[in-house]
Amino acid sequence: MADVIKIATRDAYGQTLVELGNEREDIVVMDADLAAATKTGMFRKAHPNRFFNTGIAEGNMMSIAAGLAACGKTVFASSFAMFAAGRAFEQIRNSIGYPHLNVKIAASHAGVSVGEDGATHQCCEDIGIMRTIPGMVILNPADAPEAKAAVRAAADYDGPVYLRLGRLAVPVFNEENVTFEIGKGKVMREGTDVTVIATGLEVNEAMIAAETLQAEGISTRVVNMATIKPIDKDLILTCAAETGAIVTAEEHNIIGGLGSAVAEVLVESGKPVPMLRVGVEDTFGRSGPALELLDLYGLTAPHIVEKVKAVLALK
């Protein structure tokens, strides 16, 4: 694994924004004084006339984005997940969600992998918050190539999208030209005993866990669920029927996120199978190096291995 390339999804976001700006005049980008961190600064440099910084005023930014979208612009509005989904929730809900305007809320620094800044900046609630807004599409790409494709898919979709991005450089495992279809999960690895449905940086952890499990004779299917909403019900139910057990894995509170979405589908199918969730166990984060925190909060491959064994015991 020594030669693995690591790139943060926020870097892929910034690069793709610049490309989209070259291709489309309707692309407008906004930030709230975090352009260097969210990588919208790359767009600012390339297309300064179509970049608007509201300063530290996330709610105002979201409502201005709505006004721009109402006049035909495709707007990407960026901040950290905490201040986009958190502080500006009601502006997103009422100014963007209710009129179904064409604004892409691109929120970086999601999850505990923010690292040293600590709990106030580690948003593990954003998927849950955004999932309750009617019509909101939620994308959570797993690596840089997928993030690029997801940004393009969001730009091509007419309506509000919440795009979850990370601060941490994460291993690249997708091909550079990987495709992205909103609402479709992808089987990354076949398996017959259990399915790990993962999202974001947990997809890579799930792939490592599957290798470990294979060595122990457990055949693990891995699904990359890069769209949290609308969730790919068909794929979830197929995996449940074919492997008989499911573990979800997300860098998010176990309440409200991917695990909740998958559980809802399974329970309402009338054919539920044993399921366990890997995620932040309803607690706040803390300061520390990102990789240490991912392990501390039970989000690394060894923890997924343990959850898989636990769910198999329930079969």
Partner: protein, 280 residues
Amino acid sequence: MDAITRKELEIVAAKIRLAIIEGTFHAKSGHPGGSLSIAEDMAYLYWKEMNIDPADPKWAGRDRFVLSKGHAAPALYGALAHRGFFPVERIPTLRKTDSILQGHPDMKHIPGVDMSSGSLGQGISCAVGMALAGKLDGADYRVYTILGDGEIGEGQVWEAAMFAAAKKLDNLTVIVDNNNLQIDGTVEEVNSPYPIPEKFAAFGFHVIEIDGNDLDQIEAAFAEARTIQGKPTCIVQKTVKGKGVSFMENQCNWHGAAHNKEQYDIAMAELTARLQELEG
């Protein structure tokens, strides 16, 4: 006034006031007080000031209006109906389950509504976004928004004001409807926003103070706003909440209450008499 006379605008304002009472009475709810205070604004904006086409409500080159104090929707609906965006017969369906006329403005379903609003403080930001889009496109449309004096307690209003001035949005006109009353009392009793003109001036606006129930002063203010370059304009207008209905004027309890049949009959009689007097 040319083209459309002051008297004609007063007739329109009277019809809007009748629509406000008609709608909220049948809905058995709504916000008639703060709707009545902006009837002259609505008449002037939709019959004189704004470049709009009721036959093509989404026309890209139109002037835009955002009712940031979205609870005054009955006034907006009255204007849109009488201006021909939808039939006047729909006014009594306000707030009904099968009606397009939502309690607060809904741009997805109501012809002529440029922005959904109602959560206070957000409409001005949306209007700023529209004005910004106009500048970006080199378009010559103008954007108007009306805020309540209670509404400006929302911090977002000042975030939007700061941004509008920083971006020199001289195509934006903000109207603050200073009827002096909010739900819990006078604006001073609740948490005084005064002095309002000085605050907007400090935030970089060109400020005009008028009587917002006087059409001549409204006309002069909007004309002055058009001449201002490099900064947005804020019209701070003194108005009477409940204007036009004797027992409603300056009464806080008519912010969010509808009439019973007896009150409705009196209000409609007063407003109808005013309309007949104007129509001679």
